[in-house]
């Protein structure tokens, strides 16, 4: 019998969506602390308030992140969750696993933790939810020694980089998102584990502009695959779509009768740059005007493919609203080739990080810093040339901060000469 009555939670056992309540209840049979978790959660459902205290700083020796401290505010009532810290385990790029590896982690977590996880955290980590302070070093030891695996990030440091599945199973991938993600993670181990940053910093890598890992919205440094030559067209396959032999958008819309595929309405007219044309026989793309939005390729994956000169765009500074308001990442490099060891990319990132570490205020994300001091300072530090691709539109206010060196004659003025010309 359950330790606590959980009438409210029990209601969440109904319905077709997988129930975490059902799941936790089953696990609670072997992991009694989860009874306390359910008890406390039920209380929250009743109180409509959380019963977790403000987290304290806990962790493993020598690491500044990877563990989130968590304590119940009712430890007497729910002793099993008095301590209930999170361990963030760095996920493998692309989120593929062997069952052997996962079984190892699961076994360890059943032994040393609550047996509850998040697969995965919003940043990408495998999140092991709920353990005691005295278990942390043990867990870390086992992870590193027995599972050849490390902790992920938390706090004011580099956060665990993440990526879409990229080339492993996607025909659209223009860069090897997984390799880049893994390589960056390895290169920046120190930044990941030993906070020296003003605040958190996130790297995400998507293989193409569909951006399946939400890099543009959720990373300080977003690497997004693209191409700079021509979209490859298989005209026969285009005909296949037009004739109805091939299903548009790979069948993504097949749950509804949208009528016969209409290439003009569905592709030509929806192209944001209107750079496509269709004369009934051949599809033409004015590639110079294409902004590689992916729409036409998404609709006709068997007929269209990204070009062959592939690389990435780099965008910088996305974040959630706290504190200065949400930002999407903004374009800083339109195109960069991405071949291991990705030196050009890392050199750029190093410059960006150095500048941020020098100028960023406590708890100021890089996007906010750019917002505070302006792109000009950022570009100087990143040694990037200003190009119009960086903006949607040029400034509409004239408030340019001219620098003395740019103004003929500098800023020194001869007062006497001025007053001779212009008596007061």
């Amino acid at each position: 019998m359950a330790k606590f009555e959980t009438p409210l939670l029990d209601d969440l056992e109904k319905g077709p969506w997988p129930s975490f309540v059902t799941d936790i209840k089953r696990q609670a049979k072997t992991k009694p602390e989860l009874e306390d978790l359910l008890g406390q959660l039920e209380l929250s459902y009743k109180d409509k308030e959380t019963h977790w205290k403000h987290g304290g700083i806990v962790g493993v020796f020598g690491y500044g992140g990877g563990v989130i401290g968590r304590y119940s505010d009712m430890p007497e009532k729910f002793p099993g969750v008095a301590h209930f810290h999170t361990v963030r385990v760095n996920q493998p790029s692309g989120l593929y696993y062997s069952s052997a590896y996962l079984r190892q982690i699961m076994e360890m977590w059943e032994r040393r933790g609550s047996g509850l996880t998040n697969m995965h955290g919003s940043t990408g980590d495998m999140v092991l939810l709920g353990t005691q302070t005295d278990q942390l070093e043990e867990i870390f030891w086992e992870l590193t020694h027995d599972m050849n695996t490390d902790l992920g990030g938390s706090g004011g440091n580099l956060r665990t980089p993440s990526c879409c599945l990229g080339m492993s199973r996607c025909e659209y991938a223009c860069i090897d998102a997984q390799n880049i993600c893994h390589d960056m993670t390895q290169t920046y181990q120190d930044e990941l584990h030993r906070p020296a940053f003003p605040y958190k910093f996130k790297i995400k890598v998507s293989g193409c502009p569909n951006d399946c890992v939400a890099a543009i919205a959720r990373s300080d440094f977003a690497i997004i695959g693209t191409w700079r030559d021509d979209i490859r067209i298989d005209q026969a396959a285009v005909q296949g779509y037009v004739k109805g032999e091939l299903t548009p958008n790979a069948g993504a819309h097949s749950g509804r009768d949208w009528g016969k595929f209409d290439i003009v309405k569905e592709v030509i007219n929806l192209c944001p740059t209107k750079c496509m044309s269709w004369d009934g026989n051949a599809l033409k793309i004015d590639n110079k005007e294409c902004t590689r939005c992916m729409h036409c390729i998404n609709v006709m994956p068997r007929a269209l493919r990204p070009g062959v000169e592939k690389g990435c765009s780099i965008l910088c500074g996305a974040k959630a609203p706290i504190l200065e308001g949400q930002r999407l990442a903004t374009l800083i490099v339109p195109f960069m080739k991405m071949e291991p060891p990705y030196d050009e990319c890392k050199e750029l990132l190093n410059k960006v990080l150095d500048w941020w570490m020098e100028h960023g205020k406590n708890r100021e994300r890089i996007g906010e810093l750019i917002g505070r001091v302006g792109m000009r300072e950022f570009l100087k530090a990143a040694e990037l040339k200003a190009i119009p691709q960086m903006v949607k539109e040029p400034r509409s206010n004239p408030y340019i901060f001219w620098e003395e060196a740019d103004v003929p004659g500098g800023w020194e003025r001869d007062l006497a000469a001025f007053r001779k010309k212009h008596p007061l």
Partner: protein, 366 residues
Amino acid sequence: MAYDPKNPMKDRITDIGPRHYEEFMPPVIKKNFGKWLYHEILEPGVLMHKAESGDEVYTVRVAAARLMSVELIRDALNIADKHCEGYIRWTTRNNIEFMVDNKSKLEPLKADLKANPMFPIGGTGAGVTNIVHTQGWVHCHTPAIDASGIVKAVMDDLFKHFQSMDLPAQVRIALACCLNMCGAVHCSDIAILGFHRKPPFVQHDLISSICELPLAIAACPTGAIKPATVDGKKSVSVNGPRCMFCGNCYTMCPAMPLMDAEGDCVVIMVGGKISNRISAPKFSKVVIPALPSTPPRWPETVAAIRNILEVYAKNANKYERLGEWAERIGWERFFEKCNLPFDVKTIDDYTLAYDTLRTTTQFKFS
């Protein structure tokens, strides 16, 4: 060899990073890495990717409540062992994917999945996939609402859209339990956001021993917190009308909690997107400033989302994301069509507010 608390540095291994992803790839994936030609969605939740080599990989995607027990994961691994050569993957939205390298293996796999109600197949194409969400009352200290429970309630209600592809475009729903927005709801078609509406109260008797007062004061972006002396003790006072409920003070100082059963509410935001397809990525916009937080099923939230989703599904064009639709018809029409009251609170008054005001005579009459 095991950890020795008396000698913590002995044989310590650090900075090794995650396991290399190649170790975990099914053979067909590894073999055709970077050589995929195209894909097809055979039915909701089932993808086929074709490689240049002619190889095919069949993927079955199933939902998961991201909050998963070790046992449930083992259930999934058992299926992976049985059908998928011991490989499995998760998606970036917390679904699970099982892959087989031959069509003949597909039906047996699906059969085993269907046998377990914890693994419903779906989540592909123009439908509603898994909700990206956060901790809520299960683990966090700042939430205004729960996470997993609301997700469950909403997905129960929208379940048919998880298992069909009948919407104009994909609809991405996300939830964040406070405006730290760990769920990154700021760019979602539909977003559920937990929000506090009572300014922090101050534990005057203890604050000066628990917190650095200057840090607490500096934490407030609106300058609502000022030093004060209360009952002879150093403390702070909060100017309620200047508070925008960001919770930064509580993050910096536990003696200033905001949470309150009555005040905490659900904000509904819509129209965000991430992909660069057709239109640029967009932020979600606040369209319902507050719904009550009503566990265990949050019926007001569930109904509001269903309503918006249905109106969108009925009215939008093929390929049109929710935000693209709202922009095309105009936000005034969005409110009208969704039968939502327009609240002055949805008018921006933060730093970039000017850019959201209507600076033209072009508008539609309601």
